[in-house]
Each structure stands twice: as C-alpha cells, then as structure tokens.
Amino acid sequence: MPHIERNVLYTIGGAIVLMTLLPWILGKVVPNQVFFEWPYFFEVAIGGLLSGVMYSLVALGFVLIFKASGVFNFAQGAMVLFAALTLVGLIDLGVPIWASIILTLGVMVILAFAIERVVLSHLVNQEHIILFMATIGIAYFLDGFGQTLWGSDVKRLDLGLPNSPIKLFDGALLVNEFDLIAALIAGVLVISLALFFQYTRIGRALRAVADDHQAALSVGIPLKHIWVIVWSVAGLVALVAGIMWGSKLGVQFSLSLIALKALPVLIIGGFTSIPGAIIGGLIIGAGENIAEVFIGPLIGGGITDWFAYMLALVFLVFRPQGLFGEKIIERV
C-alpha cells in the first residue's frame, strides 16, 4: 500500500463525519420529510458501500490503463460489454462455464494484442487527448463488433450467485448476499492487483513505464509487451466487472453505460491509484446512497447521478489530483 498522507486521512474522516451528521441533523430539523433512524442509516450506508464496490470494479480498469500508459480509456465500458457478451455467448453455445471464462479471457488477450498492434503502436508519443480519442474509436468498433457477433437482445447470465436478503440483528439490518459476494471478489481482485504491481518484475516494469516512457525504454523495458500486458489485465478486470454487472442487470447494451458511474470514482480515488479506486468507490457509493435517501426528499429526488459528480468536484477543489493521485509538480 502506498504511503497515505495525513490530509488524505483528514479528508476521508471529514467526509465520513459529514455524511453521518448531515442526515442526522436533517432528520431532526425536517422530520416529516427526512426519516432518520440509526439502523436505517447504517443499512443505507452499507448498501451504498457495497454498490460502491461495484463501481470500483469498473474504475479499476480505467486506472490500470491510465497508470501504465497515460491513456484515458474511454473503451473500458465497451470492453465490459464485449467481455460479458462473449462469455454469455459461449455459455449459450454449450461451453461449460469455467471453460467459457478461460476462453473469454483468451479473447480479451487477443483484443489487447490487436489494440496494441493496430492502434497504440501507431500513436506512440502522441498527446493524451489524441489517445483518448483513439479509445473512443475502439469503443465504437467494439460496440458494433460485439453486437454483430452475439446480437442485441438481452441475455441472462446466471452463474448461480445468490441474491437473497440476509437479515441481521433481528431484521433491523438488511444486507444482500449478492452485494457481499461482489464486494469480496472486488476486494480479492484489488489486493492481488496491488501486490502484482508492487512486488513482481512485470509490476515494477509497469510502474517504470508509467513514470516515463523514454526512460523505461532506455533501460530496456519493452514498451510494446508492457502495453499488451496492461490491456490484457484491463480485459480481465472488464470480464470480472462484466460478470458481476451482467448477473445483476442481464447482459445487454446498457452494460457499456456503467463506465459513466466509474468516472466520479476515478476523480476521488485518483486516476493512478489502485487502492484509490476502491476507496473512491466506497465514498461515492455511500455518498450517493445517503444523499438520495436523506437529502433527495428535500429537493425532489433522482439526484444520484449529479450528486456523485458534485461530491467528486468538492473533493477536487481540495485535492486536484484526487485522494491518491500522484501530485503533479509543475515548473516553468
């Protein structure tokens, strides 16, 4: 784990205190509009934290690629959809689930190769916004390609994950099994990715590339291979996200839209931090849940979307590089 600065802890602590106190105060001031009870509050907060983890799963894919190549990968959502479509397509063809997962992973690696060969290798040393635009091209292509291959109708993805509510403390608290499992998987994924980046040879090479392409090249790190590896890992993360979101929503085009929910997570966590993606997800998930339930009634509801971004904006004003992002030092 990277060293956490003290003011990051203060910021997170402040956010937690604020998110707890504000609903409590609102519950006291306007009790007829805002219903506040502690068990209920915790249930809302826990539900939010757990759905925040689902956002983290998507945000993670962005972070990996941004970290290693400075590319803001707009195609991450399309990759999630593509991975999920391929998986469901294979399962429906009669391939056993475990084999389908491995095959899909293979497809994602091939995709990573193709992207490196066809797109990125031609755009070395270009500005970030150009690479960003290129990933938009990839996103369009993948959307069309995936649906040509597997069709646009909705498909059910059932890996036998449970989805029933668990009652704790005599029913005072209600938690969903599926959310718990998703949180567990995301946790394992993040820890293994963090370890991979920190302690393996490839991980070190990845970090070197992220710091400086030229320097990494000059000490003999093959840039091409690194990019393929990173995009493959991002493909793996997309597959996991696709499985989790696909079992929740069904596999359909809308899956590619979840990328939008990952953006505020990125701002808070920072574009370059793997643990940041998780912390960011937790803050956004809990924040928007609490806001919708306790602030929403005062202003008409339906505020989750913009609230997440507003929350991110507030964080940005205090820490423009995100909570865990690398501080950019500028010199003239």
């Binding site: 509510p165 069904g250 509801g301 339906g302």
Partner: protein, 439 residues
C-alpha cells in the same frame, strides 16, 4: 443461442431477394417503419419490429396484400435516438409512390420532435401507448392518434386494479402507493393522474424518480422497502431500469405481486434478466399476452414454416413486444383498408389514411376475423376521440410467461377525458392552434 452473424447474413440474403422483387412493383403500398433493433433499448425493440414486419408479410403472403395492393415495408433503425429518428422520418416520408401512410416513431422523444412536422407533412402520427396522452383530443391534434391506451389511462387502471385487490375504493384510504419512474418526459406522464387519484381516494402517493438509464437503484429501493413500506408499487420504467428494479425489489424483500409495471416495463426482456426474482411481478398491458391465437398460427404456417419470418427465434412469436408490434400493424393496415374503401384499391397517402383513422372501427367481430379475438381490444376512433376505449389489462409473470390475470379494465373516463381536454387546450394556446370542428 445461435451464432448470429451467420443467421443475420442468411436473413440479409432472404430479405434482399424478397425486397428487391417487391421494390420493383410500382403500385405497392409503401410502409415506412421506424424501429430500434440496436442500442440500449434493443431487446424490446427487436421483438416489436419483428411482430410488425411479420404481420405485414403475413398479409402479403396469405392475402396478396390489402385488397390486392401489395405492401412494401422499409425499416429504418433509430437506435431509440431522437436525432437518428428524425433523420429516418425525413428519409422515409417520401418513400414509395405515395409516401409514408403513417409514422409510428416508437419513442416519446421522437414523437415530440415530430409533432409539428407531421401536421406540415400531412402524415398521421400513431403513438400506441406512448407519446402525448392529451393527443387523445382529436380537435387539437388532428394528425396524432393514440390508440389503444395512454399513460394517464394506464395509471388510472393500475389504481382501479389495486383498489379491487384491496377490496374496494374505500379500502384505499390511508394506504401507501409508491411510484417508481424513469426521470424523463415518459416517466412523469402519470404523476398528475396519480395525484388526482390520491386526492380522490385518500391514499398516500410517494414519488421515486430514477435517473436514466437506471443501472443503480439501491437507495430508492432501500427507501421503499425499509422506510416507506408501501402497499403497492407502480413502476413507469424503461429498458435496463426494469430488470434492475425487480432485482432490487427482491433484494429488500418487497413482494413482487404488489409491484405493477406499465406496459413498457412488462416485456420478457424486462423480467428474464431478473430470473426467479421476477416471479409474481405484474404489469399492465394494452394488448393481450400469449402466443396461442389464430393469427400466431397463421404467421407460423405462412411465414416461419417457409423460412420467411423476420425473428431469428420462432419462440419470439407471441412475446409481449411482438404482439404489440403486431397490434400496431393491425391498426395501420385496418386504416389502410378503411381508406381504400373510400378512395379505391390503390396505394394510400397520409391524408387519406388520416381520414380513415378519424373513423377507424376495428370491432370485436373484425378482430375475430383477423384471428386476434381477445388478443387486441376493439378500437373505435372518431374525429374528436383519437384514443378509443383505452382499455388495459393486468398480466403476471409466472417465471416462464406473462399470463393475463384480469379482464380489460376501462379507465375512468369521467375524470381523465376532461384532463385530456384541458391539457390539449393549454397546448393549443401555446402553439397558436385553433382546434378544428368535429361534427
């Protein structure tokens, strides 16, 4: 699931050969159809488009068209995108020898964008179960038709059904009803009706907007399931929002048989992703559900047996959205038939079809002749009334199929008709429209 690329290419080849031959005949009735087979809402859109296309092809294959006039169908994919939809409309409106006889945009956004245009182009706009509810007033909206039902009528029927379940309208007093809605023009349509009904029956209405596309609804359902604990939930949802809502309802243990969706929340693609969580979920339908009607048999023997059906899966014949597409085709082709009675057996223009729609009468007997008795409610329109009876039934998902669990329920016209009138009058004032006279 088949490998779709191959199937699509095959379908392409078939469509190519059949359409090429059709295009060459000049005296065909051209039908332009705006569909969405791609994009975020494709799952329901594909079935609708297949139902529409299959019914039109059935008339061609079995009867040789309408009164000997063959039908040529041209689709344009809108992806449920208003920009694309407008482009499609403008491209198709001049198609064939007579232009598009009527437009069915299948999207509230496109409907609003077309309101002005259809009046100028003299092409009737048929919005079956979507679009502006107040277009039921034919005096202000001569070119817009809304059979067989409106969102306002749907809201009223939902409350009538709930009242009946509770044991009469009096039992509604003090009960709680929650509305979960897609936060857009479409989702907001029922609010005024429900508020009026809440005042009338004395139940408590709580509103829960879901910001589109509605991938995440945990806070809303925590609130509904754990705090408000309503007696019934009504949902005006759309696309991926529906399955998510059903899943989240299950996650907070809200009973699914106290959960009623509008027709756009009542398709197979809305419940299938939710799996077993959806069992017991109810939805309003303005068309019958199921596949066992004579018209389905006719489609299977005349089209699918010969490999001419448009759906890739024959099992989709009789899906809810498929039936809905068929119903739209019935409304259009019956209007064409009515118009031909007046103007002769040749391709009809938009103006002629509008004349026919103004006096469209698809009676119960006629529905029986079409092989759709009980599947579609009879429709009778007049110059002033562009809605018809507006009846709706309730269906329930049993894990495999939607089953009808109520009769056709008539909305409370005494309350709703004046609401249409008022709203249409306000629109007329804003747009400077003088309502036409209807004798």
């Amino acid at each position: 699931m088949k490998f779709n690329l191959k199937a699509s290419l095959l379908a392409a080849a078939v469509a190519m050969s059949s359409l090429l031959s059709a295009v060459q005949a000049a005296d065909d009735q051209y039908i332009g159809s705006l569909v969405y087979r791609t994009g975020p809402y494709a799952p329901g859109g594909i079935q609708w488009a297949d139902g529409f296309a299959d019914y039109v092809q059935l008339l061609n294959e079995r009867d040789g068209g309408i009164n000997g006039v063959k039908l040529t169908l041209e689709e344009c994919d809108t992806a449920y995108n208003t920009d694309k939809g407008l482009e499609c409309y403008e491209r198709l409106k001049k198609g064939g020898s007579t232009g598009m006889p009527a437009v069915m945009p299948l999207s509230t956004g496109i409907t609003y964008a077309l309101l002005d245009r259809v009046a100028a182009d003299k092409i009737p706009l048929i919005t079956s179960g979507y679009g502006r509810a107040d277009a039921a007033d034919g005096t202000v909206f001569p070119w817009v038709f809304v059979p067989p039902a409106t969102y306002w009528g749907g809201a009223d029927v939902a409350i009538q059904y709930i009242a009946k379940e509770m044991g009469g309208a009096d039992a509604m007093k003090g009960k709680k009803i929650a509305l979960v809605y897609h936060d857009s023009a479409f989702g907001k349509e029922p609010i005024k009706t429900l508020e009026a009904l809440a005042a009338k029956h004395g139940f408590e209405l709580s509103l829960h907007p879901v910001s589109p596309p509605g991938l995440e609804q945990k806070p809303i359902w925590t609130k509904i399931g754990r705090q408000i604990k309503p007696d019934y939930v009504i949902m005006y949802g759309w696309g991926v929002m529906n399955a998510t809502a059903i899943k989240e309802a299950a996650a907070v243990d809200f009973p699914r048989d106290k959960f009623i969706g509008i027709w756009w929340s009542g398709n197979e693609p809305d419940v299938i992703p939710a799996g077993d969580a959806a069992i017991g979920y109810k939805s309003l339908q303005f068309n019958g559900v199921g596949a066992g009607y004579p018209v389905h048999e006719a489609i299977k023997t005349n089209l699918y047996a010969k490999g001419k059906g448009s759906s890739k899966v024959e099992g989709d014949v009789g899906a809810v959205a498929y039936n809905r597409g068929m119903q739209s085709a019935v409304i259009l082709t019956e209007a064409l038939r009515t118009a031909m009675k007046e103007y002769g057996n040749k391709p009809m223009t938009g103006e002629q079809v509008q004349w026919a729609l103004d006096r469209l009468d698809v009676s119960a007997d006629r529905m029986k002749e079409l092989g759709a008795e009980g599947l579609f409610d009879p429709i009778k329109l007049t110059c002033a009334d562009h809605l018809g009876q507006g009846r709706v039934q309730v269906a329930q998902w049993d894990g495999k199929a939607f089953k009808a669990i109520s009769d056709w329920i008539q909305p409370n016209d005494e309350m709703i008709r004046p609401m249409y009138k008022d709203s249409a009058a306000a629109y007329a004032k804003e747009k400077g429209i003088t309502p036409r006279e209807c004798k």
